[in-house]
């Protein structure tokens, strides 16, 4: 499944764009040229980046100042790569995702998907929210059909594609159920089917399993990997669960808080398909420990330069 990953040579090769330094020590005036060619921005696989965060910052006004949610982050995600983003709360990982989704506009810098700057949300980038965000007045099938409906896909074709997506997550028996009758895990599977139905190139997942109990979470992780192996997409998966990040992703981006920035990038060279066996292996444990210490023992965060 990771045939695209040909050179796991360095541990964090393309995490920070060489031309634009990250971290608080970088000069705030280093604005990237918007016409930067995509050539040098390569993911570890060597392929051109599918998603590029180019020196993006995001500030929110708060009482008595400015909160820097994301501070000059540069990150590149390759085509069909599964990248997890972990970090303490307040590290801006969700903001990063929302900028890629087009739901939050960066204060400076830009997010480029497929060579085009993101200016708003679009069906090429599916988003899965932690709170499921199913439309409670629609049945599972009509929820899954939603994106197809607004795209003008009609009748039998729409139904076929929706049923296919529902089958992909194993909700076939509940296609006509209302969300209120589903368990949390089933709701999230429905949300995943809904995102898959419009066939996006990119899946952006914002702590999708965060509200589930640990058993359901493990099941859904396996199911997500299974779905992903059958319909491989570029995935950015935000989580606060280190084990989840290592289990799912080919590369784990560890972020630091205040200001939100990339702290480290850890390659996960474990082969897909990953199973329980993977989870219990010493390699997995070593990687998990590495990511764990990157998350929990970050160098003293420098106070955000409130500007």
């Amino acid at each position: 499944m990771n045939a695209h990953r040909t050179s796991p040579e360095a541990s964090s090769p393309a995490a920070s764009e060489p031309s634009a330094p990250t971290g608080p020590e970088g000069s705030p005036s280093s604005v990237p040229s918007p016409s930067a060619p995509t050539g040098p921005e390569a993911s570890p696989s060597g392929a051109p980046a599918k998603i590029s965060f180019r020196d993006v910052s995001c500030h929110f006004p708060v009482k008595g100042g400015v909160f820097t949610a994301v501070d000059r982050v540069s990150l590149h995600v390759g085509e069909r790569e599964f990248v997890a983003v972990v970090g303490p709360s307040g590290c801006g990982k969700s903001t990063l995702l929302n900028m890629a989704a087009g739901l939050v506009a960066p204060t400076s810098g830009e997010v480029v998907v497929d060579g085009r700057p993101v200016t708003g949300p679009g069906p090429d980038r599916g988003v899965i929210f932690q709170q499921y965000a199913l439309f409670p007045w629609l049945t599972v099938r009509r929820n899954v059909e939603f994106g197809l409906r607004v795209a003008g896909v009609r009748g039998a074709e729409r139904r076929r594609r929706a049923d296919e997506a529902i089958a992909l997550v194993g909700l076939g028996d509940f296609a006509d159920a209302l969300p209120k009758t589903l368990s949390g895990g089933m709701k999230q599977r429905c949300a995943i089917a809904r995102a898959y139905a419009v066939d996006p190139d990119v899946l952006l997942m914002d702590e999708p399993f965060g509200a589930l109990d640990s058993l359901t979470r493990v099941q859904l992780q396996d199911q997500l990997l299974d779905t992903w192996s059958r319909r491989t997409r570029t995935v950015v998966f935000v989580t606060h669960d280190v084990e989840e990040a290592v289990y799912l992703a080919g590369r784990v981006v560890v972020m630091a808080a205040r200001p939100g920035r990339v702290h480290r990038v850890v390659e996960v060279p474990l082969p897909y398909p990953r199973t329980e066996h993977t989870r219990l292996s010493p390699e997995f444990a070593a990687l998990r420990n590495e990511v764990w210490s990157a998350v929990h023992h970050q160098d003293n965060p420098v106070e955000a330069p409130a500007d």
Partner: protein, 312 residues
Amino acid sequence: MTAGQPRKAVADAGRIPGDAPRGPAAADAPGSGGPAVALAKPDPAALDRPGVAATRAARPARPARRVPAPLLNAVSLAAGVGVWALLAAHGVGGLPGPAAVARRAEQMLRDGTLEGDMLASLRRVLAGFVLGSVLAVVVGFLMGWYPVVRALCEPYVQFFRTIPPLALIPVAVVLMGIGETPKIFVIFLAAFLSTVVATLQGVVGVDRTLINAARVLGARDFAVFLRVVIPAAAPFILVGMRIGLGSAWATVVAAELIAAQEGLGFRMQHAETYYDLDTIFVGLVAIGVLGLVMDRLLLLAENRLTRWQERR
């Protein structure tokens, strides 16, 4: 707790015949409350048929048989009429009894006045209510969707909301004469003001995540509005409409008391001058019954349209 217990008892009962007949049942009994005690002496036949055991054990676990609400309603209604008849029979200030009122109602139905009055009142209410709630839904949505519209409209809405629509009747009569227009206008205002506030609340309260979910699925503003905001706000709108209908109905009677040639309010006002309490009571009962029927109809619509909501 009380709701959880019976279910646990059923689960226990279903398991016992398969697992180990006597012991666990007795052991479970203190934990799962009363019903499981019955299991301590299991029916030998039931042991081969777990399903039977489960249903038998479940029966005592059900809450005590409840009297159906409609029956209680009917009993309460009959008691009320009885008390009324008693009060009337013992001559409380010339109060007419139910029988006298029923006779008068029959009389008025036969000569067509009751029907005519009811239709006249209903027509006014429906005209004012439909106009008011349709405009309220439009204005409420615009106010909820566009902050500019909200800032422009809100002072007026909040100001007029504090004035009882009845207080506007004198103004309406002076400006619009004594025809149908002022009455319908006042009713319109009453319905509009309750529905507009509810619609605004509904639109403002739409879960941001749902709107984002629609947008990332490719929905543009209009589709978001049509497919997310309207359904999400529907429960609020329907509640607003029920309140609006209530105040419209309250207003019509008062409006008819002031100047009208027909209608339930007019009929009561007219009867007052002749000390005709029977007719006044017929009017009161008719107003109550019609109001109740309309409210039930809207409630029915509300239940059908918002079945998806998680209740309680």
